[in-house]
């Protein structure tokens, strides 16, 4: 019997997508639109962040409404360490990852004791705490945020070149997706599926559901923190708005648009939302209206998201 939970690696489509992504900077250069390389890098980073939230919502059934806080933890860690003299991305990015993981451990340890609506609300509360903390600490730049002079250095390659940064972000995203696939195909992933579908039963069978959920929560927080670190390295600035609760909402939108509980759901959703946003924002200042209508339509008529639609066709 075919194992329905196993996520197969489809070598040809995967290679195709990776090849397109790898050639993208070349295409942008040929078309004389180098700006799009930075935009594409931002999309890749959000794909990483949305993927980490998808792990929680789609696979773990943990509807976290505070994911922006972990992104912020990573971003502000990098923004604090760089002026202190740490310039190497090999130190900065793992530090961002650890910051996200550490904060997620604290939040998860308390929040995962609650269920359902209360879990949504308590993760939101923790994210708001982080938001107001950043907003009122002058060390962190309060309203204005922090600005960095340079991008971090990555040893042999120069991240100040947009194309190089793009490939670095692409490598991180691909590694994260491969890692998530491995995790979901491993016993831990199966246990996570079980917990999502019936936590009480899994507990009765003898799984340490609380600890498993906390582990996954920390992994997702780590990936989000890394995403935050990449984001601030790319932009050279970070502000408290990165932690606002509406940002957590936007990340959830990405997951749902792309398809919760699909390996590529988060990444697809990030691409879709950011590209659509970029495309409409050129024409109207009222682009959130369009996003709102699309989101409403997806929730009401296509709850499986984009990957669900494609799957139905196939």
């Amino acid at each position: 019997m075919r194992n329905t939970l196993y996520i197969p690696l489809q070598p040809w489509p995967t290679l195709g997508v990776v090849a397109v992504l790898a050639l993208l900077p070349l295409a942008a250069a040929t078309l004389g639109q180098p700006f799009y390389v930075v935009f594409a890098t931002r999309v890749l980073i959000y794909a990483l962040i949305a993927t980490s939230l998808n792990l929680l919502i789609g696979y773990g059934g943990m509807v976290s409404f505070g994911h922006a806080a972990f992104v912020g933890a990573g971003a502000y860690t990098v923004a604090m360490l760089m002026p202190a003299g740490v310039a190497s991305a090999w130190l900065l990015w793992p530090a961002a990852l650890l910051a996200g993981a550490g904060f997620a451990f604290l939040v998860g340890a308390v929040s995962l004791r609650t269920r359902g609506v209360y879990f949504i609300m308590i993760t939101l509360a923790f994210a708001q705490m982080a938001y107001y903390l950043v907003l009122s600490l002058r060390v962190l730049g309060s309203d204005d945020g922090l600005t960095l002079g340079n991008r971090p250095s990555l040893g042999l390659v120069d991240l100040n070149r947009d194309t190089t940064f793009y490939y670095a972000a692409l490598a991180v995203l691909l590694a994260a997706l491969a890692g998530m696939r491995a995790l979901l195909n491993a016993p831990l992933g199966r246990a996570l599926h079980g917990i999502r579908d019936n936590e009480t039963r899994m507990e009765a069978i003898g799984f340490a559901t609380y600890r498993l959920k906390l582990l996954v929560f920390v992994i997702a927080g780590a990936a989000a923190g890394l995403g935050g670190g990449l984001l601030v390295s790319l932009n050279g600035l970070v502000g408290p708005n990165l932690l606002n609760w509406t940002q957590s909402g936007v990340l959830m939108i990405m997951v749902i648009l792309g398809g919760a509980g699909r390996l590529l759901g988060g990444a697809l959703g990030a691409v879709l939302l950011l590209v659509v946003e970029e495309a409409i924002a050129e024409h109207t200042i009222h682009w959130p209206l369009v996003i709102g209508v699309v989101l409403l339509a997806v929730v009401l008529f296509a709850p499986q998201g984009l990957s669900g639609l494609m799957r139905r066709r196939a």
Partner: protein, 305 residues
């Protein structure tokens, strides 16, 4: 620290708490009876403030403005309930969060299209713009009126929920919806009614707070989160819990912002105090909420036994 300052801050806290209650009451009923998260409640608050500002500007009458805000927002609420919320009652909380988040985006843009991006002016009635003497304390008259209206609305709501037949249906629906249906309560109409009342209360809060805070696009986004903190602390579905929690949150937030920096200056070196005071003060209510949920995972007064 002078006593009059403490009294003034307590009154401010009471005022914030009562306004939060107006928002939280509708939210907790919708949540408790229909098991539905409605993020768009903050948009109703915003719409109420805008309608009030426009009507007051056009007619010059503050009372007319509030009446128009109540009626208009209740209508918007009913339309929203019949067109959208009704489809969401049976869906997951995640779907409800996303769909009503979409409503926030849409409502903000529609308001921006009608009234523009600039904050608009909502003046308090000139008769109330001065201070009054209250046991030797000079306190703004308008804020006292806000406190008075807030208290009156809270009492009216209490009587409505606890002393009338419709209120009995509401309570029955909150504690066990299916049983209430079996006993003959028309929950469809009840839902619409509750939603309209919630929208009207949000409009009152928006219109009253308009002169004190700015009337602008997105004004409901942050106060909505405060209202959610209130209903989570109070226990979802419980009016009594919402009242106590909103007073608690209002007083704690105001007192924290006013007194914590002062307190920290007594305890820590000035440099640390200047940083930590405001930071801790602004986090206080979220710490309270996390603590309440940690020890009582369903809030202080859960409506469902």
């Amino acid at each position: 620290m002078p006593l009059s300052l403490i009294a003034e801050q307590l009154l401010n806290g009471l005022q914030l708490g009562l306004m939060l209650f107006l928002l939280a009451a509708g939210l907790t009923l919708v949540f408790g009876i229909m098991d539905t998260i409605n993020l768009a409640h903050g948009s109703l608050y915003m719409i109420g403030a805008y309608i009030a500002a426009s009507v007051i500007e056009a007619s010059g009458s503050f009372l007319l403005g509030i009446a128009a805000a109540i009626a208009g927002t209740a209508l918007v609420g009913v339309a929203l309930e019949m067109a959208l919320l009704r489809r969401l009652y049976q869906r997951s909380h995640l779907s409800q969060v996303l769909a009503t988040f979409a409503v926030i985006l849409i409502a903000n843009e529609i308001v921006r299209m009608i009234w523009g991006s600039q904050p608009i002016l909502l003046n308090m009635p000139s008769a109330l713009s001065g201070p009054v003497e209250l046991l030797g304390l000079r306190y703004p008259a308008y804020r006292l009126v806000v406190i008075g209206v807030g208290l009156m609305t809270a009492i009216l709501l209490y009587l409505l929920v606890n002393r009338t037949r419709a209120g009995m249906w509401v309570r029955a629906g909150a504690s066990d919806r299916e049983m209430a249906e079996v006993m003959g309560v028309d929950t469809r109409r009840l839902f619409t009614l509750v939603f309209a009342i919630g929208a009207a209360l949000a409009a009152v809060a928006g219109a009253l707070l308009g002169p004190l805070l700015a009337v602008q696009v997105g004004m409901g986004d942050n106060i909505l989160i405060l209202a959610f903190v209130v209903i989570t602390i109070g226990g979802i579905g419980s009016i009594r819990g919402a009242l106590l929690a909103s007073l608690l949150v209002g007083l704690l937030d105001t007192a924290g912002r006013a007194f914590l920096p002062y307190l920290f200056r007594q305890m820590f070196p000035a440099v640390i105090a200047a940083e930590a005071g405001p930071a801790v003060a602004s986090m206080l209510i979220y710490v309270l909420m996390a603590a309440v949920l940690y020890f009582r995972p369903t809030g202080l007064f859960p409506a469902r036994g």
